[in-house]
Amino acid sequence: MVFLEFEKPLEKLYEQLDKINQIAEDGDIDVSDKVAELEQKIAKRKKEIYSNLTGWQKVQLSRHPERPYTLHYIEGMCKSFIELHGDRAFGDDTAIVGGIGIINDTSVVIIGHQKGVNTKLRQYRNFGMANPEGYRKALRLMKLAERFNMPVVTLIDTPGAFPGLEAEERGQAEAIARNLFEMAQLRVPILCYVIGEGASGGALGIGLGDRIFMMENTWYSVISPESCSSILWRSWDYKEQAAESLKLTPAHMLEFGLIDEIIKEPVGGAHNDKDKIIKTLKSHIKKELNNLASKNIDTLIDERIAKYAKMGEFTVAK
């Protein structure tokens, strides 16, 4: 188990629990009372910690190394899934994965950012930071979905689009812009889920849809708290403050009307019960696709555009 800084009080309790269990095993002593007491303590402490997370703590949880990523969800949710590779123009981006599969008897196209589960794979996945060909692969798959009338599900989890030299050469900005343009008119339903980090244009590049959801311990912002700190405070030390100022939590996003719903996670975060969060997501997708299935596609697109057209806060002077 990996404990984040604010989870340290839990680490001690878990250590005690381990010790007691060890004693019980070694000496064949009945410790059930003691174990029950400790477990109660842990549950109470968890409730205290996780019900009052700050923006920065949500950011930390969203980056938890044991958190499930796109391929975990796909594997857990799909009866059948075939990953499809490449943008047909330049290459295959490993930071965005996608393919065709069946969830709850419905054929769908699923696309998501992919992070690596260990040091080597983190490199291989470029830390979930996509290049233009990732966004173009995503678009190719969305067009495929449109042709065969399959709904699109996107899973968002990125610290941002990759800010590299080649990414610029190959048109990172154009790739993201094109996706926004095409997704606005895509003639199938689109569901978007923020399952981890929702950083900036790199997240939005596969994030325009009919319904937008955020898991409980995720964030969505125009910029990461670290970069925001470095630009606006001219120092890397204000990331916590930046996270607060950016109001990037799911609760804020819901309050602002920028997302439709928050998906509850197991206590302590999605990684604490992967089976449970996969089941939650699967049944949520089923419910939402059912809701959208009866809609006329032209109406759906009109509503999609109208929803984004409404986003913005300003005053109208007389």
Binding site: A167, A173, L180, Q185, W233, L246, A309, E313, F314
Partner: protein, 293 residues
């Protein structure tokens, strides 16, 4: 010839944003260090007579340059507000007040309607002097309403980009303006109305990654910085020096992201050509063409 008229007839539209200074004042070129009088510079479209450096100019300067003469401003009543109570080193509220005072502008974009080659055009032009031309709710809303205006007038739409990217003080709202503007642009495409995207120095971040790159025709001024990530961020990421001319207009043209580069002195002529070529009464309208296809 609005550009010249303004200097011979005096000020037509009062705004502090125009490059106004006594004619005799000296200006040192940022690029070649040569000095010129303000008059020499403005008579040359604020382009350095020696090295061709295109000094940054404001929305109203472009309106004067592009439109046949008169133009009307729209949506000036829309004002940014600090709805998140965002405070970094300075409250956003204070930044807004200071920007308004400094520039005399309502926000980082101004929408105008006028004639080019006697045909109606709606132009949304950005101002870098207003909080770095950053895109917040008002920028998105003015573009959105500008598109609605072009739809109702059945005329082409143009955006002149000049922006450091998103306005961080509006957080996710500023991010969503990328989605909002891109989604609204699809309505122009559906209606068969052309959208011209003109990029000027600098055009970066969320602005490039949304409406700036989505023109039916994408073009820019020479040597403008155009990109997604800023050069400093890229340099820190790859830990290498960036090649000469990286992310400049000529680089984007070479890599296939611009249709052409236009010298500021040729802009008015080029806009007239575009307006004449994209005429409404061409043999088949785009919708008919789609139906027969």
């Amino acid at each position: 010839m609005g550009w010249f008229k303004r200097f011979t007839d005096g000020i037509q539209t009062a705004t502090k944003n125009k490059k106004e200074a006594p004619d005799g004042l000296w200006h040192k070129c940022k690029s070649c260090n040569e000095t010129f009088t303000f008059k020499e510079l403005k008579d040359n479209f604020f382009i350095c007579p020696k090295c061709d450096y295109h000094n940054r100019i404001g929305s109203h300067d472009y309106f004067d340059l592009i439109f046949d003469g008169k133009f009307h401003l729209h949506f000036e009543e829309l004002k940014s507000k600090d709805f998140l109570s965002f405070t970094d080193l300075k409250p956003y509220d204070e930044r807004l007040t200071a920007a308004k005072e400094k520039t005399g502008l309502g926000d980082a974009i101004t929408v105008a309607e006028g004639k080019v080659a006697k045909k109606t055009l709606v132009v949304a032009a950005m101002d870098f002097t207003f909080i770095g031309g950053s895109m917040g709710s008002v920028v998105g809303e003015k573009i959105s309403r500008g598109i609605d205006l072009a739809l109702s007038l059945k005329c082409p739409f143009m955006i002149i980009s000049k922006s450091g990217g998103a306005r961080m003080m509006e957080s996710a709202f500023s991010l969503m303006q990328m989605a909002k503007t891109s989604a609204k642009l699809t309505l122009l495409a559906k209606a068969g109305l052309p959208y011209f995207s003109f990029m000027t120095d600098p055009t970066t971040g969320g602005v490039t990654a949304s409406f700036a790159m989505l023109g039916d025709v994408n073009f820019s001024e020479p040597k403008a910085l155009i990109g997604f990530a800023g050069p400093r961020v890229i340099k820190e990421t790859i830990k290498k020096d960036l090649p000469e001319g990286f992310q400049r207009s000529e680089f984007l043209l070479e890599h296939g992201f611009l249709d052409f580069i236009v010298h500021r002195s040729e802009l008015q002529k080029r806009m007239k050509e575009l307006m004449l070529i994209f005429k409404k009464d061409n043999q088949t309208t785009p919708t008919e063409a789609q139906q027969t296809a």
